[in-house]
């Protein structure tokens, strides 16, 4: 069964450092997302990406964040200068379309720890 793959599973970084989280969405999917979940809290939407551009972003997704689809398969989330409060589980998700087959498939997440 096709799945969304995220690497690494756990990333530890020092405050102020840049970090890139990697995702390989399901191959025929067109919509890509990043969500985050701070420990013990709800899952929050960060950004959606379609047709090589951001289609929507939340207030959390400020100038420190960026997304990129550098090739036909990868979808990355970059945090330029990490803060302690960026420590969270980051989930990548993908879906085929808006109206049809509305399920978003999630990856297993990357646990980011900022120290």
């Amino acid at each position: 069964e096709p799945e969304v793959t995220q690497t690494p599973s756990h990333q530890v970084t020092q405050m102020g450092q840049e970090v890139i989280l990697h995702c390989v969405p399901i191959s025929n999917h067109l919509y890509f997302y990043w969500y985050r979940q701070i420990l013990g809290q709800k899952v929050e939407f960060l950004v959606s990406f379609y047709n090589n551009e951001i289609s929507e972003k939340s207030e959390i997704f400020d100038d420190q964040f960026s997304v990129e689809r550098p090739d036909g398969s990868n979808f990355t989330l970059k945090i330029r200068s990490t803060k302690l409060e960026d420590s969270a589980m980051y989930f990548c998700a993908s879906s085929t379309a808006l109206q049809e087959n509305t399920e978003a498939f999630f990856g297993q997440g990357t646990r980011l720890t900022v120290v």
Binding site: V43, F45, S55, E103, F106
Partner: protein
Amino acid sequence: AQTVTQSQPEMSVQEAETVTLSCTYDTSESDYYLFWYKQPPSRQMILVIRQEAYKQQNATENRFSVNFQKAAKSFSLKISDSQLGDAAMYFCAYRSWANSKLTFGKGITLSVRP
């Protein structure tokens, strides 16, 4: 903006019994989708069941079913014949018809007693 509320932080059920997890939401839209996601200790988000708002019939998936009350903006999940593997965090989520992002509730931790 849409909001999703899960007011029960924790619930417990005896193995083989039935449990209902509550969810309410607030929206001004008439067309939308509702989902229940399961998050086991591995932290991966797994879709349990989904409901299209335009469908009057409640969705069912094996032991999982929903009670969708559109007028009351209520979307509860019923798990029948609970199994130990059902123990997890369960999130209710809303998606607008025209927008692809999911809005999640705070989640509920379900424990299953053997």
